[in-house]
């Protein structure tokens, strides 16, 4: 076999996610009353980018065969925090942004500490820490309110050269600065190895615990970036439990649509980004086809159900039933 075939095999999940996104987005745009215009793309990008950040966060943890059910709550917490501190002069705003990112980082690090060094199960741990983060968010913002540096917000949610949404550029920069170095570092490889076979990674003397800790921490950071962007879009902070739960749920949907195996070891955060954009495009089809918004939760639930069931087609190819239990 040629080298590129091996590469294709390795990137299959991500590529599939990319193709799915193109198809879904094409359906969305072609049925949109306004058609393929810069504004439509901008709106879609802004909504998609929020989920994309949270989905990247989830993907990092899922690659190590972990799960973070608190990403939605970190997203909400950092939103509430940003609505307090990302205001005022440029310097104050900058410090505020740093503060918000550090808060996200700290939440992720706390998850990592408890899961890895405390040796607790990630599902239960992150449900519990999610409750804590939501409680803090509620302390910060018992009622929706607050503000944000609106100049910055308008810039980051606007377009550059009248065409390209700035939010997409930020997303790209975050991918380049966070994901790419991570995936090519020893830590990144360890993360994949741990997700694929923790025993083998241990036998190979890989820094498993540091790598896992790093993924949870980076997940917190990425969810924090998401929360920051939420503030830029809404100009307020709101401790909305339903929204936090929804983002956690959608992040998992995005990861699945993005070709990241929930069993760990394969996929990429880039795939998850396309998964997030795909999920958004599918969700928005409802509006394009002019259906009652009341149906949206059901529609999204069904999309998720179908997405996770699609993997079952692989079972038809399984000829040894023992492979079911792998």
């Amino acid at each position: 076999m040629k080298d590129w075939k091996y590469w294709l095999a390795e990137q299959r999940g991500t590529l599939l996610a990319f193709v799915t996104f193109i198809v879904m987005f094409a359906i969305y745009v072609s049925n949109h009353p306004a058609g393929f215009t810069a504004n439509v793309v901008q709106t879609a990008a802004n909504k998609g980018v929020l989920l994309a950040f949270v989905a990247m966060a989830q993907a990092l943890v899922v690659i190590t065969a972990g799960i973070d059910l608190s990403v939605g709550m970190i997203f909400i917490l950092t939103n509430c925090l940003a609505s307090w501190i990302v205001v005022g002069t440029p310097l104050e705003t900058a410090l505020g942004i740093v503060g918000v990112l550090l808060a996200g980082l700290a939440c992720g690090a706390a998850n990592g500490l408890i899961v890895i060094y405390g040796r607790l199960q990630p599902i239960v741990t992150t449900i519990a820490t999610g409750a804590i983060y939501f409680g803090i968010a509620l302390l910060l913002r018992p009622f929706p309110g607050g503000g944000v540096n609106e100049d910055l917000a308008d810039f980051l949610t606007g377009k550059i050269w009248g065409v390209i949404p700035v939010s997409l550029i930020v997303l790209l920069v975050v991918i380049l600065v966070v994901w790419v170095p991570f995936s090519r570092s020893v830590m990144g490889r360890t993360a994949y190895a741990t997700g694929s076979s923790e025993a083998a990674a241990y036998m190979s003397a890989m820094p498993i615990r540091r790598a896992k800790f790093l993924t949870y921490t980076l997940a917190g950071l990425l969810a924090g970036i998401g929360g920051l962007f939420l503030t830029f879009f809404t100009y307020t902070g709101e401790a909305a439990l339903a929204s936090g739960n929804a983002y956690t749920l959608f992040s998992i949907a995005a990861v699945v649509l993005g070709g990241v195996s929930l069993y760990g070891g394969t996929g990429s955060a880039i795939g998850a980004v396309f998964g997030a954009l795909t999920f958004r495009a599918i969700g928005d089809l409802l509006f394009v086809f002019d259906l009652d918004p009341l149906w949206q939760p059901l529609f999204q639930g069904v999309v998720l159900l179908i997405a996770v069931s699609l993997g079952a087609f692989g079972l038809l190819r399984v000829r040894n039933k023992l492979d079911w239990f792998a």
Partner: protein, 513 residues
């Protein structure tokens, strides 16, 4: 050779797991440029010895010296850095990473803090070539490789670390004969290069071919160290088990079995590319072996009979009636009465944390229950019967199965199926990795079961077992039955010749050349 200073020395090393003393003041001296064979029954302390040397576990007491300097390894990484690389019995490769990723896994080449993929590939190609496996593509994912190829990658991976001491723990157990001979050539070359090699194997002839020095372990301590070739196989086995070692195999039944009608018959069985046009039958009272090189479809054949595989073509007849077996649940029912002793007792045979009782009755729950409610008295009496029949050594039926020794665990796997009183018994390499004493008991049990009227299909990777235990042997090659041997025709020569799919004459030539 003995005049030189030893490269590595271990003195008075002990290790306890709970109440069990796995290693008891063990001594070992390793010289550079030697292949050192380590022998011993399971539970003799070999695995613990290796784990301590490679930093996987820490010893409770004792000292280790490398080049005369005292060392202790806090982790596998520390042992690696000191120049000790280990190839473990359980594969340590990461399935979703590429071959190259795996080879450099513990110390990848870096550029600007990131992994240098070009250099990594060069290292991998070199290591693969050194391991005699240049045909493996460095970008292939490990999970897509067959088991024997993975073992080659494992060896390449160890070599890439440029070790001074290389430990091989049952490293050839998954390899085909062709690969084994390649590996041996590589190991001998490494010896010339001045490496010290520790070679642990259950296969005596491998040790005999490779080792310069041998050390025998028993009950956690080294009982003898001798120059290779100075002791006979029988003497070595006696050292290992500490008692007279006679008559491993029980006598075979007279050929009377051939009068019985077949209990199970297969006609033109096929599955995917793995099984091709397989037809055979087994009579009550017969032990039929499956031979051939590892991975020629023997395991798949057993799974296919047990209903685990989907899309199996051909026909299976039980006592003359065609049946379609859809899964283990149907296979174990009275209609068919089949049992499969699976390959891996730890993940497929046993529920390790559960009690001996729960394990023994697990496959026969329907038989000790009424309307889904377990009849504890009936359960207990059946279990007691099994424990007696197989002489399972356990401190009680409430202790977890995982606490027993490997041999006793394997007995439980067999016993739990005998609870169903099956008439067709499939065994998938049941003696792999268990001690000589238990093996012997299993051979006797098989004979007894056959004498009681069971039809037994027995896959083994050990030729001696096939010769000693089976009435007939079906030698498989590339998914089909290559040859059937029977009675006195089951010889090592015939087994190997048909396993390699060569005529016996040309085999003789090949050996001569």
């Amino acid at each position: 050779m003995h005049g030189a200073n030893p490269l590595f020395r271990m003195e008075g090393v002990s290790k306890r797991y709970g109440g069990v003393r796995a290693l008891d003041h063990a001594e070992l001296t390793v010289h550079a440029g030697q292949i050192h064979g380590i022998l011993g029954e399971n539970g003799a302390g070999k695995s613990t010895l290796i784990k301590i040397m490679s930093g996987v576990v820490a010893p409770d007491e004792g000292r280790m010296t490398l080049d005369g300097k005292e060392v202790s390894f806090a982790s596998p990484a520390a042992a690696n850095d000191a120049g000790i690389a280990c190839i473990f019995q359980e594969l340590s490769l990461v399935p979703h990473l590429s071959v190259a990723d795996n080879i450099v896994i513990s110390n990848p080449p870096k550029r600007f803090g990131m992994i240098d993929r070009k250099k990594q590939r060069a290292i991998a190609e070199e290591a693969l070539a050194r391991a005699g496996a240049a045909d493996i593509h460095p970008l292939a994912l490990v999970r897509d490789l067959p088991l024997s190829r993975r073992q080659m990658v494992e060896i390449a991976k160890a070599l890439a670390r440029k070790p001074r001491i290389l430990i091989l723990d049952e490293a050839t157990s998954a390899l085909t004969a062709a690969d084994v001979s390649k590996i041996f050539a590589v190991l001998k070359r490494l010896r010339e290069e001045g490496l010290a090699l520790l070679y642990i194997s259950h296969r005596m002839h491998e040790i005999a071919e490779l080792a310069d020095v041998c050390t025998v372990f028993r009950n956690g301590s080294n009982v003898a160290t001798y120059e290779a070739g100075t002791k006979s196989d029988n003497e070595v086995v006696e050292l290992m088990i500490g008692r007279e070692y006679t008559n491993v195999f029980p006598p075979k039944a007279p050929v009377a079995a051939s009068d019985n009608p077949p209990v199970i018959e297969c006609r033109r069985l096929s599955w995917a590319d793995q099984l091709k046009d397989i037809s055979f039958s087994v009579r009550a009272g017969e032990v039929v072996g499956l031979g051939g090189l590892d991975g020629q479809g023997q395991r798949d054949l057993l799974l296919a009979l047990f209903g685990v595989l989907r899309g199996v073509g051909g026909e299976v007849l039980i006592e003359g009636k065609p049946v379609r077996i859809r899964g283990p649940r149907q296979a174990k029912g009275d209609e068919i009465g089949m049992a499969l002793i699976p390959e891996d007792r730890k993940t497929e045979g046993l529920l390790l944390p559960m009690s001996v009782r729960d394990n023994l009755s697990f496959a026969a729950l329907d038989r000790v229950a009424r309307a889904g409610v377990i009849d504890r008295a009936a359960e207990r009496s059946r279990i007691d019967e099994m424990i007696r029949l197989l002489a399972i050594k356990t401190a009680g039926t409430d202790i977890p199965a995982g606490a027993l020794s490997g041999g006793n665990q394997q007995k439980i796997v067999i016993a739990k199926w005998l609870m169903n009183r099956p008439r067709i018994i499939l065994l998938n390499d049941p003696t792999r990795g268990i001690d000589v004493g238990t093996k012997q008991e299993i051979y006797q049990l098989l004979r007894k079961l056959a004498a009681d009227g069971a039809a037994i299909i027995f896959y083994s990777t050990d030729y001696d077992e096939l010769i000693g235990c089976c009435d007939r042997v079906l030698v498989m090659y590339d998914g089909g039955i290559r040859r059937e041997l029977a009675g006195d025709g089951i010889t090592e020569h015939a087994l190997i010749a048909s396993a390699l799919n060569v005529e016996e004459d040309s085999m003789a030539e090949a050996v001569g050349a």
